[in-house]
């Protein structure tokens, strides 16, 4: 079956070096290929600087790759003209790590969730409000908080709001870039549950970018490991966990603070 998202040989170079005329190039992505089937979760695990966020930005069409292709539902996104792009963009949405900087702190929850409707010029005002409130319900944000400003919400509530905003235009794929990393442990569990529920009821696919191998193992069907701009290993979650091949994978697994439930063993890798 055709995958929802297919990335082939993606390369992204940034200019490096101090002079604007410098020919030095930094290969943030050095030939990345991956695919995500509809309704599934692919976790992208790697250290800072491995290129995960650059990949997220390219897939979300917020950065233009230097070469390679990105296909969504079989169509190469680079071939889309401006109008087609505008219709296409809602299909892939992003949730970032730091809700404090990805949500306007002075806007209310309702305004934040309604913004995508405004940008896409959909629905009348009363309709937007109804739909926005429904989105808040979906992510279990009490309606009484709809009028609160974003900076008055807790970290967990802000992240729920970011997810609600991402759902507004009914995407097929949500890219979560370290979306749980800044949250308290118990809140991470709540948001992880929310993501699983939404996936089950809406058939969403997720690209879950993280350096937290434990959470990736928990949420993902497949894991891809990135190191210095390349995917060095990928496969079904169980396989990666049971028999990691690449050195980078093993290093990341070893770095997970291990919490083995046995009183005689206190281990941190």
């Amino acid at each position: 079956m055709r995958p929802l998202l297919k990335v082939e040989n993606l390369v992204k170079h940034y200019a490096a070096g101090r002079s604007t005329r410098s020919k030095d190039r930094l290969a943030a992505l050095d030939g990345v290929s991956l695919s995500i089937p509809s309704g599934e979760t692919l976790a992208l695990v790697g250290e800072s600087g491995s290129g995960k966020s650059t990949l997220a930005l390219c897939i979300a069409c917020l950065e233009t790759p230097t070469s390679g292709s990105i296909s969504f539902e079989g169509i190469d996104v680079a071939t889309l003209d401006e109008n087609q792009q505008r219709l296409f963009r809602p299909q892939i949405q992003l949730v970032f790590q730091d809700p404090a900087s990805s949500l306007n702190p002075r806007w209310t929850a309702l305004e934040i969730v309604s913004e995508p409707f405004l940008v896409q010029r959909r629905f009348t005002k009363p309709d937007r409000t109804v739909r926005a409130l429904q989105l808040l319900d979906r992510v279990a944000i009490p309606r009484k908080l709809a009028g609160r400003r974003a900076d008055e919400l807790s970290g967990g509530q802000k992240q729920r709001l970011a997810i609600a905003r991402a759902l507004a235009l009914e995407p097929k794929l949500i890219i979560l870039d370290e979306a749980l990393s800044a949250l308290d442990c118990s809140v991470q569990a709540l948001i992880a549950n929310l993501l699983l529920e939404l996936q089950a009821s809406l058939g969403l696919a997720y690209l879950f970018i993280t350096h937290d191998f434990a959470m990736a193992a928990h949420l993902a069907d497949r894991i891809a490991v990135m190191d210095r701009g390349r995917i060095v290993e990928s496969g079904p979650t169980e396989n990666i966990l049971r028999s990691p091949n690449h050195e980078a994978t093993r290093a990341l697994l070893a770095a997970v603070p291990r919490f083995i439930e046995s009183p005689s063993v206190l281990v941190t890798a």
Binding site: E47, D184, S186, V187, A189, L190, N193, P257, R258, T268
Partner: protein
Amino acid sequence: MGGKCPPLVQEMTPLLEVKNLHVSYSARTGEVCHALAGVNFDLAPGEILGVLGESGSGKSTLAATFLRLLPSNGKIQKGSVLLEGENLLEASAQDLRKIRGGRIGLIPQEPSSSLHPTLQIGQQVSDVLTAHETLDRRSLNHKTSQLLASVFPKDAQRISRSYPHELSGGQRQRVLIAQAIACGPSLVVADEPTASLDPTTQQEILHLFRTLRQKLGLAMIFITHNPALLAGLADRILVLYAGRIAEIGPAARVLYSPQHPYTAALLRCLPSHFAESRSARKAKPSVIPGEPPDLSLRENGCQFEPRCAERMEVCKSDEPSAAVVNELHEVSCFKFAG
């Protein structure tokens, strides 16, 4: 009196004694938020105490209180904090200048905002030394190099000449550690020191703490919301909830046989490790229902009661006090009340 030091060091005076600490913040609206509501514990010399708490637990207030760095709307309502017998809460401004950095080091949360952006690293470490000691140029340079070498086994020279923006997050954190230990404090308070770091870098920093503890006999208060970081590092763990100690005891006991319902619930939230069967994975992580309490409305009774799976009638009306469940292991919960 709660949270006694391990018996091996009971003959020694505790390094730090926190007694009945109450700290609150007042909002412009007049509301008072009770961030710490009666915290008692001791810390032995050379001991690493993990303070485990989530947002709103009071953990950062604790760190700020020890260093008397509360914001202007923060008030220490009552209690005492004795450092080697002297009450920090009564120290004069002059004494505090000597205490901060000299006797207690602080490793703050955000490395990127804690370093001067336009001074070289070597200069920033030297500055800490000159603030507390009078050293001639040669000794100053020597000591600075030594400090940087203790946190950067290789590359110390190059780092010394670098600027913060040229360093990675992990490297900046190491610089903060060097600054915190520069004047040989007996206690270092680390507030989420690995929060913004990669797992591999996190492990390196935790390893550095262990090494420094061994070499320098440093006592440490390691504040975090992630229980997994404390395994293998902390001697004892103190669990903070809504400004009170829920549980305090040897690390292994608190992590592997938690007694307080909150601790147990929190530990169950951690993604179950590498469950290999397909059915166990994508099983929903266990959650703690409800939200942390609003600290400006301190209701009667146990603060965890609304979210507790094991709540009883008495929990609604009374606040439990610390009960000893095991040698050195105390829990504030009516399950254990006499």
